[in-house]
Subunit: 199 residues, 2 copies
Amino acid sequence: MSRQKARRESQLLDAATHLFREKGYHNTSMQDLADALGIQKASLYYYVESKEELLLRLLERGSSLLGARIDQIYAADLPPVEKLRRVLENHAMTVMEHLNLISVYIQEYRRLPPERLGEVLAERKHYEQVLMRILEDGIASGDFRPVNVKIVMLGVLGMLNWVHQWFSPAGELSPQEIATILTDLVLRGVLAGSGEGRD
Amino acid sequence: MSRQKARRESQLLDAATHLFREKGYHNTSMQDLADALGIQKASLYYYVESKEELLLRLLERGSSLLGARIDQIYAADLPPVEKLRRVLENHAMTVMEHLNLISVYIQEYRRLPPERLGEVLAERKHYEQVLMRILEDGIASGDFRPVNVKIVMLGVLGMLNWVHQWFSPAGELSPQEIATILTDLVLRGVLAGSGEGRD
């Protein structure tokens, strides 16, 4: 790929991220994208076959970003508590640092038929499974209380994904501060012997 | 309102809930709604002015359901832990028991301009404030550790709202079991003296 083509493609993905977040995938036309890049609509098709393909590439980007560190963290020689902390902080930070991209990832992935989402769904499934394995390891080691790992995993990812709905870079707290508060909440929630729980 | 008109309106709201969830608000036409009810499209306008008005009524319904018990729970003579448990369980149960309506509420409310959402936004703000007040009361009484109540409130509502994305009535666990798991996670997460937190 020529350097110019690569740069254009990167600009196109950035423009699509911005427009899909702002107006929604459905309401963004190829014409809008061409206008944002200052090129002819016909030229767009040199870089991307369709709006669908563009969305797919953004979903792959978002999915790779979220999953980038999961295997490394799992493989590290660390206690389950520390692995869980790192996965959760990393997830929260990724959502806040790539707010537009992750918002598109979270809100628009159902626009594509599951058969086009192969890679993206496989990565997500892998991510969920590693997270559950960390919880299981922590239960086995006695660090965590015996929670239902699937429901806790779903609940925790929901909390962290939802951050894209309310996080504002202009807010009082930094992404790191927010990530720490949410991570602490979950860690204390699963630690063995932590409080009385239901009384 | 005649009894027939009331019945028709109720059928219309149910059909809209179903279609907006299934196809999305954007992709549902007044014609689709008329077809679902087996009436002429022109007759629809006897019951509702526009698709926008229909969405607004659904958002009001969802908002009322979620907020229905919050004031009663807050006013009850109960310790903060118990109030928090009831609010969270009630929220989770409402999401799961009114899955289609709450999904529409959560996913589509941004389709309407804020100035049309007056009541809905006011109710949501009130709900969030009462939840923060319960957290503050618990911190003041020493039951909860001194958390950032705003971030915890946003995190917890995110976790509970997100349930609409993954809950399946055909799943292994009942709504009550799921609500209990998620509520316990949060309660243990905020209880004072619960575990070591960050080590």
